[in-house]
Symmetry: C2
Subunit: 492 residues, 2 copies
Amino acid sequence: MTSKDGYQWTDASGLVRGVPSIGVIEPSSNINDHYQHYDVIVVGGGYCGLTAARDLALSGLSVCLLEGRDRIGGRSWSTNIGGYPFEMGGTWVSWGQPHVWREISHYDMRDQLECSYDFSQGVNHFSLGSDGGRRTMSHDEADRLITGAALKFVNVDGEYGKTIMPQPHHEFFNPAVKKYDKLSVADRIEQIKDDLTPDEMTALQAFVLLSSCAKPEESSFYEFLHWWALCNHDYAYCIEYLIKYKFRGGHSSFAIKFFEEALSTNRLSYAFNSPVAEISDHHSHVQVSTRSGQKYKASRIVSTIPLNVLNDISFDPPLAFGKQDAARVGHVNMCAKVHAECRNPELRSWGGVRYPDNKLMYAIADGTTPAGNTHIVAFGGNHNPLKPEQDIEQTKRAVTGLVPAQIERLVFHNWVDDEFAKGAWFFPAPGLVTERLEDLRRRQGNILLANSDWAVGWRSFIDGAIEEGARAAKGILDDLRKNSVQPKSSRL
Amino acid sequence: MTSKDGYQWTDASGLVRGVPSIGVIEPSSNINDHYQHYDVIVVGGGYCGLTAARDLALSGLSVCLLEGRDRIGGRSWSTNIGGYPFEMGGTWVSWGQPHVWREISHYDMRDQLECSYDFSQGVNHFSLGSDGGRRTMSHDEADRLITGAALKFVNVDGEYGKTIMPQPHHEFFNPAVKKYDKLSVADRIEQIKDDLTPDEMTALQAFVLLSSCAKPEESSFYEFLHWWALCNHDYAYCIEYLIKYKFRGGHSSFAIKFFEEALSTNRLSYAFNSPVAEISDHHSHVQVSTRSGQKYKASRIVSTIPLNVLNDISFDPPLAFGKQDAARVGHVNMCAKVHAECRNPELRSWGGVRYPDNKLMYAIADGTTPAGNTHIVAFGGNHNPLKPEQDIEQTKRAVTGLVPAQIERLVFHNWVDDEFAKGAWFFPAPGLVTERLEDLRRRQGNILLANSDWAVGWRSFIDGAIEEGARAAKGILDDLRKNSVQPKSSRL
């Protein structure tokens, strides 16, 4: 099946909108009875919504999943282009991510991971580029360079952040950490800049801003400290957990397991291509209206609408002020992620950064395609915005600005202009998390708002999406059980 | 409630069998209809059985949980002595343990962890004792000593074990690792002994054998490499994941959540004090007979009987040879874990080891009791066996052999003589895991055998118990769904 999402370019085909993915669901709806009153409506079919829908359906509730797109996965989905999975959004997973790992174990996919890196072949070096030019070094040299700079960056407590956030899944355990949410990445760099070499400055910025894909002055230093704590306060674990292991079959091969398990209960109804326009809570029941005017009724709703599009939905009664305000502020991650299939097999072991004078700042060789070409994945941020489909030649130059390569294919998803995301993974400006996290997490009547954007563990990650989906499902089950509401259906 | 399990000694009371615990279940049975045919019988109420029972009941199946003891938790349970939780078995948990962490998140207990260590008070040093005497050093010195020795011990590949087991949850990813299961800890020490100082030799043995609580020559080097990989190939993470964070309210405060959630479905029947004698698979159904002659029928069974007592149950048809043989061989962990409440508040920051000339080899100050005394927890192994209840004076000397202390109270559970465990957490002799793991994991007809003893991730840990319980439940649900068996009951 081919999704309407994403873009592909080759010399032969030119720019084509839409790419094939096993995450596209056909038929796009299985709803026969439009007057059914469901136990729960889940809005959004990313990992958060899939987890909630699955957990609820497995627990005996009737669930209706509504999704604006033609596919599952939300901000994480993979193509099947000539059998090769390009990851259009979230990619890497790890056993350091407990919710993801529980699911990988659940679906017996432990042996389905492969390592993005292969430092055994061809051009085995790291490129460091800046306004001052581009030079190469060994991967070990690059690791030492970035480690040294990162340790200076995070060392707010003389213990590289270990005392300020000792329990990463209980982030405010030491409340003193909150003060770092007043600082931006730019503010923190200003504090340590005299202690950084020019190379360290370049590499550090490219590495740190890979977390936010935003300008340094709009990226919260606090949030980076949280990522750092989640990665064991260790640069090596930033690589290990954030950018190393991916699914051999792509993310859609994982997400589809959640969907299929939910379907196997015979309690999951769903409608894709069904963007939600309005959610209203009538106390006795809730109602969801789609843009096309279709209405769905249920006892509870799980909304997994992301922060940056939350105010695009009409809520009745309106969302509490804290949520509305957080959504108005939004998050700042405007990542451009570009895959380039290059006729340069020798690049398989390459990696590099270039900041700020290039529209892609961080890239690694991520695999070898069936044609024997090197697959390079590259990330750009809001300091130097790129909308890849708007100017293919510019996009190619953004790749070759990192490393000389013969580009055969480009594959990407413009998340910034995606109407259901308006940005990539969550990354906040200073202040948002400490001011609004609790507001965002609070239930509103019969509506539970769940999204990785306000997870407490791996916030912004697939792990956080699963954490949140599971939290919403548990909240509803505890609630209905307390109120002795009977499920509408009960087949195994 | 007071369990029959465990022992307590004070000068005033002398040795008393049984200690109070919130893990004791009253009433001990809720079964009214002894002729009911259940969907599933779960044998064993440790974390593995609790997880299986809960997942199955939540998914709409009728479940009967049979447990030989008067309490939940199996090899992990905590007392409530004067409001203080002494951990009788498994203790520490971490976000590095994905299955545990998923459950801590599920029950919203992220803020219920406390750190065993407090290096800010009183006697803030580490004792290193051996036949040659006892001396003290700072905790930092001890960390450097053990780290240095541990790195020599695990460095089989020039990368401290990272290349030989890069994916700890997929342990045979590099099949070359299997050869280390031919070596014992003693064999490995023999290989590196010329490179170890006497202090390193003492500290290394006490540290490594804390994983097995067995003699060096009967402890698999491979299994230690697996622990090491699970701990990020890093001594600091051995401490962080294995012996740092525990539940403020004790493990029984966590385990009870599983039990209560399963009960809340109204689909969980249970009988405690009901040791199982026989499990028979009649193809159309399975039957479990207890020692007292009570019979229970179901469609499927999850047996969570641990390895060392597996052959004490009569299976009809008999267990496959590989399972029987693995159970005959058994595991080697004969840990004696002793809690000493000491009238020495100044010991709060103490820790130390002594090997081999003491019946307890490794200890840390683990907390301060309500009376203001220091709680020390100490571990002994099979190189110098201790059965704490048999000679209280000897047990006290084993504590004071580690550190001079005025002992007010002793609390312990003799796992070696526990008829339902016959040992502590799983630790294999060389050969067992590579030869028998797959045999142990294999389903046998309508009987699914699940236990942390043959988990693939955190084998031997609570995390592995949850991993295995979830695997069994998923196996049954997939199976019954495929065969369209209807659950017997279906209330939420």
